[in-house]
């Protein structure tokens, strides 16, 4: 059994940032990840990272207000304050680590505009900001000689005496299963996009951390808040960054009309994502789309500008659609992109289980509320990844090693073996596809009581069929058939909690838009939904939103 002070699960931006901090704080840190760190999905963030740099006249309070308005007043305002206040230092530190941020004429960091904000405060690296940040944090992990369990799959969190004690995981390359003991654990496992089909998310985004936390008795919060991104490719759901619109691209319908004028006359294409996605869906529903899509038009930006600042978008458009963005508008539609909800934590990433923290997309601190602003997700990972590691230091010093019952490992080994021993039945992909279409249909851009009920019933049936799924590959070496099944188990947990959150919130707020109750109801629902697993079933409850300086008002763009 290996022993560490701090075990971080996930090696995307939140995980690596936490790990670097842990090493700097003198902890014995290990990172465990099911893919090599640079394969993590933080890679896919394209547009940039927000920060109000005060030395150039920006005000973090303005960034905070945009974030809170964007969240449709569901974000906890104390958390938003923390994030926006720390953003400036976070960006400068990333630059100092080596990120090749774009510059202005004076050689200082340059910005681009992004959605939901009047001021351009998005710092960026071409259209590969996430990748550029992730690779630099990987560089830092090499510099600090970080211990990384690469391509290890975590199946369970271990608790002893009510506090966290470590995790059980197996090496995907050998199948060897081990107990990894740790005084504290940070979950940084990213999103759960694959619960839906299609999704912009990578195939690895299967909500592992949300399920692991839930099974360990940690509540999930605001899980119904699913972001549909306004510009994704039909079919495979691949993302085209908001950076295009930030840099001036238009959205047009089949009549060539810039339709956002009708929905958000002031912000136009740069209204909040939920607003733009609903506008697009309305255009499509009312017959002003083509094959279920509207268009993103970059032609007026010119080829050189597109290639210099939006190179990756051009690559995606050419490779996947054969479209040169400087010549033709590209068909796009709203697509599932991000989960605002997640593992409930305090301002320092701490959960209700002593020693267990969460950061990044899997966590809900909550800074995004009912709708996340573009370029706030990278910021979230960096700020709260760091904070969770710092927070763990005192805790780790205060606790003694804990003895883990060795039976934990043998029980988990036999659970996995029993899955491998199942008789021939259904393939996991079949059930996963069923889940994906059920969730997309039930918990879409629009939802109502009936659609949510459809999703709940559908998930109940899918849960019931899980034991019929069999794993064809019985081998130990790189058995992706097995990991796919285990991921499906995680996803079913997450999907059910999403349905419960959606069912509980009887109003429309941000990304949760019910066609049967189309207005926001601050009197009853200025509240977080909480979904908790008590060992037998999911319980839902609610909790007040923290308001500091910004009283909820009508949200107009």
């Amino acid at each position: 059994m290996s022993k560490h002070d701090l075990l971080i699960i996930g090696a995307g931006l939140a995980g690596l940032r936490a790990a670097v901090e842990g090493v700097r704080q003198g902890l014995n840190v290990a990172v465990i990840t099911k893919v090599h760190p640079v394969r993590s999905h933080s890679n896919a963030a394209q547009g940039g990272i927000n920060a109000a740099l005060t030395d150039r006249g920006d005000d973090w309070r303005d960034h905070a207000f945009s974030t809170i308005k964007g969240s449709d007043y569901l974000a906890d305002q104390d958390a938003v304050e923390v994030m926006c206040r720390e953003a400036g230092d976070a960006i400068i530190e990333l630059e100092n680590m080596g990120v090749i941020f774009s510059r202005d004429d004076e050689g200082k960091l340059g910005t681009r505009a992004f959605g939901g904000q009047k001021k351009a405060r998005t710092y960026f690296v071409g259209a590969i900001t996430g990748s550029a940040l992730l690779h630099v944090l990987y560089e830092q992990s090499v510099k600090y000689n970080l211990h990384i369990y690469e391509e290890w799959f975590v199946t369970k969190l271990i608790k002893e005496d009510g506090r966290i004690a470590g995790a059980i995981a197996f090496d995907i390359k050998t199948g060897q299963m081990e107990m990894i003991s740790a005084k504290a654990v940070v979950l940084a496992t990213g999103g759960a996009g694959r619960v839906f089909e299609p999704s912009t998310n990578a195939l690895i985004c299967t909500g592992d951390g949300l399920s692991l936390a839930m099974q360990a008795g940690v509540p999930l919060m605001d899980t119904e808040m699913i972001q549909y991104h306004p510009t994704t490719l039909a079919g495979n759901g691949i993302l085209l960054s908001e950076a295009a619109r930030g840099d001036g691209a238009y959205l047009i319908n089949s009549e060539g009309e810039r339709f956002m004028e009708k929905y958000a006359p002031e912000y136009m294409e740069l209204a909040s994502r939920d607003v733009v996605s609903r506008a697009e869906q309305t255009e499509i529903d009312e017959g002003r789309g083509v094959d279920g899509c509207v268009f993103l038009d970059l032609r007026h930006l010119g080829k050189k500008f597109i290639e210099d600042r939006l190179g990756y978008l051009q690559e995606v458009a050419l490779e996947f659609r054969g479209i040169d963005l400087s010549e033709k508008p590209i068909p796009i539609k709203p697509g599932m992109h991000y989960i605002m909800g997640g593992i409930k934590t305090d301002l320092n990433g701490a959960t209700n289980v002593p020693g267990l923290y969460a950061a990044g997309e899997c966590a809900n601190v909550s800074v995004h509320g009912a709708n996340r602003l573009g370029a706030n997700s990278l910021l979230d990972t960096i700020v709260f990844g760091r904070r969770s590691a710092i927070e763990s230091v005192e805790y780790i010093k205060s606790v003694k090693d804990v003895e883990i019952d060795p039976k934990e490992l043998s029980r988990e080994k036999s659970r996995i073996q029993s899955i491998l021993d199942r008789p021939k039945g259904m393939r996991s992909a079949e059930l996963r596809d069923k889940m994906g279409s059920t969730m997309t249909k039930g918990i879409g851009v629009w939802r109502d009581t009936e659609s949510i009920k459809y999703a709940i019933e559908g998930m109940k049936s899918i849960r019931g069929q899980l034991p019929n799924v069999y794993v064809e590959n019985k081998g130990k070496v790189f058995n992706t058939d097995l990991t796919s099944y285990l991921e499906l188990e995680f996803m079913v947990d997450v999907a059910e909690s999403i349905c419960q959150g959606a069912n509980a919130r009887f109003e429309s707020r941000g990304a949760h838009f019910r066609t049967d109750v189309t207005t926001r109801n601050d009197k009853d629902w200025l509240k977080h939904t909480i979904v908790e697993y008590n060992g037998e079933e999911l319980n839902t409850s609610s909790e007040d939103v923290t308001i500091t300086d910004w009283e909820p008002t009508e949200r107009v763009y």
Binding site: H41, S131, V142, A202, V316
Partner: protein
Amino acid sequence: MEALIKVKRYNPEESEETYFQDYSINVAEDSTILDSLIKIREEQDGTLSLRCSCRASICGSCSMRVNGSAKLVCKTRVKEISPDGEFITIEPMGNFKVIKDLVTEMDSFWSKMKSVDPYVKTSFEPEAEHIASNESMTHLLGVMNCIMCGACVSECTAMEVDPTFTGPAALAKAYRFVADPRDEEANSRLGKLNENTGVWDCTRCLACVEVCPKDVAPMERIVKMRDLAIEEGYTNTSGYRHTESFNDSIKKHGRLDETRLALESTGLLNISGLIDLAKIGIKSLMRGKLPPILPHRPKDMKKVTSIAERLDNQGKEEE
């Protein structure tokens, strides 16, 4: 549309032997090879192992050989490789050990990456950002585009002969720091890269440039680092001597003086190197392959001289 795919299989738990397995799978017209492989895995054969994640050519997981040359299969369409429904052969990347099927052991790749100290080294801790030109950052973007997929290493001909070669991916990464205006260790980096297994071991075959799915052009970065190393005064290498001897020989004789090239590249003071060279010389002589001691002169030496002069001037102008 039916895609016919031949996959090189390997399962160490069953046998040390590799074999090819044929699959036929129904996919949509615009499907990528990755879509097809995933479909095979999910519908026909759960034992097939491969790495994949983002599906959008940014995570670098799914590099493998398609009809003999490395590609990211997520951005390679079936139609493009097999317009008339021909069989497509999929194999794991070359120059890597195989773990199972299409999954390669990447440890050597990462350890080479680590060997170039892949992080910005600066003693200066500014209170704000470093001031740098946008051009310098945009230039680095060309290398930062690298997603570490390993395609260049898979096809590297130098690595095939000498697995200790640092290789195109790690050297392109090294360039990112050599050319970063914020890094203070460019000189010592170049010194290290100039040693054996470094920049001079590239044979300039262009394979890495050709297969890179992100236009990182590793070989061009390697060549640039040779120039920079020479500028910094790192001239005590066989690579540098080779370049100089080549240049002199053409200017003087209009042709390559291969005997002199070999001697000068080795270094006239490098006794053990010369002894090794002598052994090769003797073998070549026995097989009648020894180049002439004195090179032939071309008929029109004036033309050669004028071309050489023009190239020299062009080089100066570029500087």
